[in-house]
Symmetry: C2
Subunit: 254 residues, 2 copies
């Protein structure tokens, strides 16, 4: 069987974030699968077929791509950011586990990319320079109670928190609840960063505090970083402030 499947991370946005490995994987593919807006980021290549799918069709997309590769084609699934972080790589593994044996025999590889929290952090300074966690606020695939428990555990233990999927059309109240909950564990002055569409047209960055965070608008293109007790903000004349978490811990929370 000569077919193969690559799950390719596009990074946060435009082509300047692509790695050479991702470019090569896209270039050699006979067919591309992906969420429509992600596919739109890939430069067209003649002879390459595109299969755009909707936002919440990960399982169906993975199955279609696996079946296509199993017929002998070179197939790539594109993913924003890194395919391994709240993205397509897990869907592909899950469908390989559940599907026909020939899917497990496929040459499948995952091409990593710059995930959104790294792009947002790079614009703000170095908020993720000390221990941190990445947490999806989506309660489609886990309970809200579990999300609350993880938020509390992370804040109490001193992890900086990167929130993926903070808001969607159906997810409207969760983010404000998360800020309220975190306010029980962290000072109101804790720095909070909202990065919207970082690396793409319309990029925006807002640095605020936990006490003020609920007043900032967020949407599906927003990634939020909530500092720890150690995270600091360095004001600069005429420039955006720098938000960073020092490498050394100066105080251990009680």
């Amino acid at each position: 069987m000569s077919g193969k499947l690559a799950v390719v991370g596009l990074g946060p946005g435009d082509a300047r974030y692509l790695t050479r490995e991702a470019l090569a994987a896209l270039d050699e593919a006979d067919a591309l699968y992906g969420y429509g807006p992600y596919l739109d980021r890939v430069a067209p290549r003649s002879g390459q077929v595109r299969h755009p799918t909707g936002n919440r069709e990960e399982g169906a997309r993975a199955r279609a791509a696996l079946a296509h590769a199993a017929r002998g084609a070179k197939v790539a699934i594109v993913s924003g950011g890194d395919p391994g972080v709240f993205a397509m790589a897990a869907s592909v593994c899950e469908e390989m586990a559940a599907g026909p044996p020939e899917w497990r025999a496929l040459d499948m590889r995952i091409v990593p990319g710059v995930t959104a929290m790294l792009a947002v952090a790079s614009r703000a300074g170095a908020p993720l320079a000390h221990d941190f966690c990445a947490l999806s606020l989506s309660d489609n695939l886990k309970t809200w109670e579990l999300i609350e428990r993880r938020l509390a555990a992370a804040a109490e233990a001193g992890f900086v928190i990167a929130l993926y999927n903070p808001v969607s059309q159906a997810r409207t109240w969760q983010l404000a609840h998360a800020f309220t909950l975190l306010g029980r564990h962290l000072p109101g002055a804790t720095p909070v960063i909202f990065g919207r569409a970082v690396g793409r047209t319309g990029e925006g960055l807002v640095v605020t505090t936990l006490a003020e965070a609920s007043a900032i608008a967020a949407d599906m293109a927003t990634l939020i970083i909530i500092g720890s007790r150690e995270t600091r903000v360095l004001a600069r004349d005429g420039k955006a402030p720098l938000v960073y978490t020092p490498r050394a811990v100066s105080s251990v929370p009680a």
Copy 2:
């Protein structure tokens, strides 16, 4: 002042992991600073001066680069992986905060890269596809008690754990202690991944269990991923197993 400073992520290893943005930032620099082995990964360019420094000289390296840029040069500091994750971006922010006012006025930007945990995860499957944390096992800049507390909190709350800096010449017993501690919170069958020099010559990947993890050798080039209760291993005939954490939580730990 025309000087500027870029803190550039090289990704995990060879040039195929470089983003276009990183390549452009390296190309326009008059001078490069960095840990010697990282500088060695950058293709030479005539007219570009290199300032290699030792492994534990982050503060001095950041100060030298900032002072050089403040004299009007285009300076780049190179960092393995992503500069924002346990790397040079925080040192630069810390030195900007402590140094002369002209350093804070500099045009400073951080160029993100593929950090080691994403590269290791991509080789293993999709272990970081659900909530996860990144934790440095180095107790140079925080206490061992705090590290233990964070390990316990992360395991109890169901985060997958990526361990940076698990071992060094001076850090010999900590990793085995960490596995013992995690064994009090997680089943012995929990998948553990050792990724060594991923993306470079001599790359190696070992998939084992928490019960067996202490028997696997690790060194300064190793990144370790410890699964959650949800993480699974999919065996494949004639191929490496796939380690993945499903998107949906099937069981909430008590």
